[in-house]
């Protein structure tokens, strides 16, 4: 049966390829769109980001989600040198803020103290010429690579793969947040790398490129060839390959894996710096988002290249990018699927996603083969104790209840509500990643699906309250099962990338589709009667969330926590954990691994759907800013930060999410404005991934158990502690 699935995938792929080739050869319009200059340049940039990711994966075992963000940051560095002759100084958290905030708390406005800040830029003279600016930016890339290696990723060398992914997500958020803070979200102009008139070069078949476009493409091809040769023939490349296969073996042969990883990081950041400049110069502008998000198609290309081949990655990057204008052009035809008056959006994203899933399906197996490398241990997932279920839980609920009704200010209520919604979203990650070891970066998009469905059910179909959100969550469950299909044969970080690609495609499809998002009016979601956050105490009047809506969120969050804790204690939970631990052994024990994964994806999607409904009620509309692929990335990172493998971790994550209780307190007590939340969040993610790979809740548990075993004073029984940080079992040959 396994063979036949792979065969179907193979035939579909071949069929698609045949259709595309026929279209391109026979139809001039398609051909010209396929070979358009801007698309090829975009392909080149995607390829550059992609091979940078391959480089760091080979060298350091890190899938660098931040590679686009690094390129973007370097582009800003270059732009500032060229325009103003200023150095961009990396921001460091100013410790004086912690004094400034509380002091100003007791002062009248106008009488605030203002302690000195860090400089944000240092002038080195008037605007700089091209060559010194380029060299300085490359030097910056060099130093940046060293810093990334020594400060972030070397300490994470032995950490689980997930911790590395989280650190790179933290880096992405941090770099983006810094740039937004410094330069705002709007694009900044960037002087060209060379100021010549665009020269058009004519080719047969009416194809035209400018000199700059050709230059970029050739540069990427040269870099790809050089890296391929480096890894194919040079001692350094061979050593890196050896070290990635077997670190100990490489040490025995006299290589330093550390040195190799550092060199690969530097190579990769210098590449990112170079192509960040090229990209900004090609557009004549740079903004915090465009280059950063090149990482999405780049990751897809990396997957096609199986995380190892530079050439296939580059080729896939070109094809994915060049297919875009073809699909846009096809959208003008009458046969193309339309929604309303416009061509259905998202097809351009969905098509490469489908191709990637098919490619991975071809390569994957329903069960891992003998000796397959696992993605590394996940944090220990303890059974929730009676104490936490019967005492700690109810106390927490009671405290929150009182706080919501009696104590909290409007902004405090908003923070608590955000935290409660964040807890439910994190629970969805806990079920999937913490219990079953499947990484999905699409959960927030599933929440969005539920939001849109809720709007349709409640506003258009007039389905009454408790039924409509449940139906909406059920709808999200169905889409979640769709995400699960690749998971049946794709594992580990590959699965993370696939689900991320799905999230981005789905996001385009939903949020830009007027027949789904309600067009200009948006998708209204009104909560019924007393829990309506808008009717009773309007957010727009600055009075924050209706306390009863907070209570409603509390009930939902508590119920979800209780249900998920129960799952961990049950037979289903044992099957989840067994699947996470060892798919082959689970199958031998009679566990249907595929069905178990589907069950987990379905459960997680339902929980995400509930969170989406809650969140939509809170805004009164389905808020597109809350439900995208990047938001999924952010929430996944916070869920990991809190502790991915248990309900207590989800609760901790809820406190930390943007807009949650912790940031509300930082804002209102210490005067740290909300804009700093992403910077602190990014820093916190990196720091926690390094210091505490088990997450915050896991860290608490470990120290609690250490304390308890000390008090018991039984030196011959350190088992309670070792259980949480279990050593790798010795491998029997």
């Amino acid at each position: 049966m396994q063979r036949s699935v792979a065969q179907v995938a193979q035939w579909i792929l071949l069929g698609l390829a045949a259709i595309i080739v026929v279209l391109l050869v026979t139809n001039e319009e398609y051909r010209l769109n396929f070979l358009s200059g801007p698309a090829i340049v975009k392909g080149a940039l995607v390829a550059a980001i992609g091979i940078g990711i391959v480089l760091t994966y080979k060298g350091a075992g890190v899938i660098n989600f931040a590679n686009g963000a690094i390129a973007m940051y370097c582009a800003y560095f270059y732009a500032l040198l060229r325009r103003d002759g200023d150095f961009l100084v990396p921001p460091l958290p100013n410790p004086l803020v912690l004094i400034e905030g509380p002091v100003n708390w007791f002062r009248e406005s106008g009488d605030y103290i203002d302690l000195p800040d860090w400089p944000t830029r240092i002038s080195v003279g008037p605007n700089m010429q091209v060559i010194p600016a380029v060299l300085l930016t490359l030097l910056f890339g060099f130093v940046f690579g060293l810093v990334l290696h020594f400060v972030i990723f070397r300490p994470l060398r032995a950490a689980p793969m997930l911790a590395k992914v989280v650190a790179s997500i933290g880096l992405l958020l941090l770099l983006q947040a810094i740039v937004v803070r410094r330069f705002g979200s709007v694009a900044a102009t960037v002087p060209k790398l060379y100021d010549t008139q665009p020269i058009l070069w004519e080719f047969p078949w009416g194809i035209r490129f400018t000199r700059e476009q050709l230059f970029v493409v050739i540069l990427v091809l040269i870099v790809t060839a050089a890296l391929w040769a480096l890894f194919r023939f040079a001692r350094f490349g061979l050593a890196t390959r050896a070290a990635s296969e077997n670190e100990k073996g490489a040490v025995v042969l006299g290589f330093s894996p550390d040195m190799l990883a550092g060199t690969n990081w530097v190579l990769s950041t210098m590449l990112a710096a170079m192509f960040g400049m090229v990209a900004a110069s090609a557009d004549s502008s740079v903004d915090p988002v465009t280059i950063t998000l090149l990482v999405i198609p780049a990751l897809s290309a990396v997957l096609v290249g199986n995380l190892s081949s530079f050439w296939i990655t580059a080729l896939a990057a070109f094809l994915i990018s060049m297919a875009r204008p073809v699909i846009l052009f096809a959208g003008t035809k009458s046969w193309f699927p339309h929604s309303g008056t416009i061509a259905t959006p998202g097809v351009g994203e969905l098509l490469p996603f489908i191709v990637i899933v098919l490619v991975l399906f071809l390569r994957g197996d329903a069960l891992p083969t003998r000796g397959a490398i696992s993605a590394g241990r996940l944090p220990f997932a303890p059974t929730p104790g009676r104490m936490s279920l019967r005492v700690v839980g109810p106390i927490a609920i009671a405290v929150t209840f009182v706080a919501l009704l009696l104590v909290a200010t409007p902004s405090g209520r908003l923070g608590i509500t955000n935290t409660l919604v964040g807890i439910v979203i994190s629970l969805s990650f806990v079920v999937l990643t913490g219990f079953v070891g499947q990484i999905s970066l699409a959960q927030l998009v599933l929440a969005g699906v539920s939001g849109f469905l809720l709007s349709k059910f409640a506003e258009e179909q007039n389905i009454p309250f408790p039924i409509s959100p449940l139906l909406a969550a059920a709808g999200a469950t169905l889409v979640g099962l769709l995400v699960a299909i690749p998971a049946l044969r794709v594992r580990g970080v590959n699965l993370a990338i696939v689900t991320f690609a799905f999230a981005v495609a789905m996001q385009e499809f939903m949020f830009k589709n007027p027949s789904i998002n309600g067009g200009l009016n948006g998708s209204r979601v009104r909560a019924p009667g007393p829990i309506d956050p808008l009717k009773t105490v309007a957010i727009s009047r600055g009075e924050g969330v209706n306390p009863w809506f907070g209570i409603f969120c509390l009930a939902v969050a508590a119920g979800s926590c209780y249900a998920i804790a129960n799952i961990r204690r049950s037979a289903t939970g044992r099957k989840f954990l067994a699947t996470r631990s060892n798919e082959r052994a689970a199958a031998a024990a009679g566990v249907n691994v595929s069905a178990t994964k589907l069950l987990a994806f379905g459960t997680a999607a339902f929980v995400a759907g509930i969170a989406g409904a809650l969140s939509s009620y809170r805004f009164g509309t389905v808020n597109p800013e809350y439900f995208g692929g990047l938001q999924s990335l952010t929430f996944f990172a916070f869920a990991y930060l809190g502790g991915i493998s248990g309900v207590s971790g989800a609760v901790a994550a809820g406190f930390l999410v943007p807009g949650g209780v912790v940031f509300t307190i930082l804002d209102s007590v210490f005067g740290v404005p909300g804009e700093f939340a992403p910077i602190l969040g990014g820093l916190g993610l990196i720091f926690t991934a390094i210091r505490n790979p088990e997450g915050i809740a896991g860290g608490f548990r470990v120290s609690y158990e250490q304390m308890r075993s000390k008090r018991r004073d039984q030196p011959d029984e350190p088992t309670a502690v070792t259980s949480s940080r279990a050593p790798e079992p010795e491998v029997v040959p």
């Binding site: 099957k575 060892n582 199958a587 259980s723």
Partner: protein, 251 residues
């Protein structure tokens, strides 16, 4: 009446025939052994029977052809196995490891798990497996906290907890000393007495010759001999495979 029969079973990796047209059968209540030198294809043979590698040929188990079934379906029909590298679930306690194998999931039980996770269940199979291998005192520990020898017993107990008709054991004696190996033999006998059938794969000739009722010998994926321990011990092909050519006279 046979419990398990393979007919022309073969496993191919690329151009290598790791298991080459092996015919073999196990009768209920027997302790059947499979021996062979390192790399003879013993583990691949178990993988083939239990559904972890793709096979050609026919595999009949308990009255049905199972060769196209997936691994978990074969397990649920009563074909259990252990692993050479044990492959315990490190995140679950010893008892939970066994419960995974003993419990069968259904839709209603999944939904009920959200509200009543610790409702009483039939624990007889788990308790039986713990008792027969004498590891009830380890039930609350994690696999990472116990010794390698104890882990081996847990691995066997997990296979037994599913109450299989046939257990395939992959090198259970590897790394045990002579005394421990004898003790293992006694425990296996208790399993047979409890009505299960064992298919034992090992390269420890001593253990296999001592306790098995019937023995198959393979080398380079091919069956080179079969018979009772006494017959196999005298077989010239076996002696050559184990001791090299010309050693026949020595024994």
């Amino acid at each position: 009446m046979t419990l398990l029969t393979t007919t022309n079973m073969a496993v191919t990796f690329g151009g290598l025939r790791a298991v080459d047209d092996v015919d073999f059968e196990v009768r209920p209540g027997q302790l059947v052994g499979l021996i062979g030198p390192n790399g003879a294809g013993k583990t691949t043979f178990i993988d083939g029977i239990t559904g972890f590698v793709h096979t050609s040929g026919r595999i009949d188990f308990d009255g049905a052809d199972i060769s196209t079934m997936s691994a978990h379906q074969r397990a649920r029909r009563g074909l259990g196995r252990t692993w050479q590298s044990l492959e315990l679930f490190d995140d679950l306690t010893v008892r939970e490891n066994l419960e995974v194998a003993a419990e069968r999931q259904s839709w209603s039980s999944f939904l009920l798990d959200f509200v009543r996770p610790t409702r009483p269940r039939d624990r007889a199979a788990v308790d039986f497996a713990l008792d027969v291998l004498d590891i009830a005192d380890l039930a609350g520990r994690f696999p990472t906290e116990i010794s390698q020898g104890q882990r081996k017993l847990v691995s066997a107990a997990r296979a037994l907890a599913a109450q299989p008709k046939l257990v395939c054991m992959d090198e259970p004696a590897a790394g045990l000393d002579t005394e421990e190996s004898l003790e293992l033999g006694r425990r296996l006998q208790r399993i047979i007495d409890a009505g299960m059938t064992i298919f034992l794969v090992d390269h420890d000739m001593g253990l296999v010759l001592n306790i098995c009722d019937y023995i198959y010998v393979i080398e380079f994926g091919r069956k080179i001999a079969e018979g009772t321990p006494a017959q196999v011990k005298r077989d010239p092909a076996v002696i050559e495979a184990y001791l090299g050519s010309g050693a026949g006279g020595v024994s």
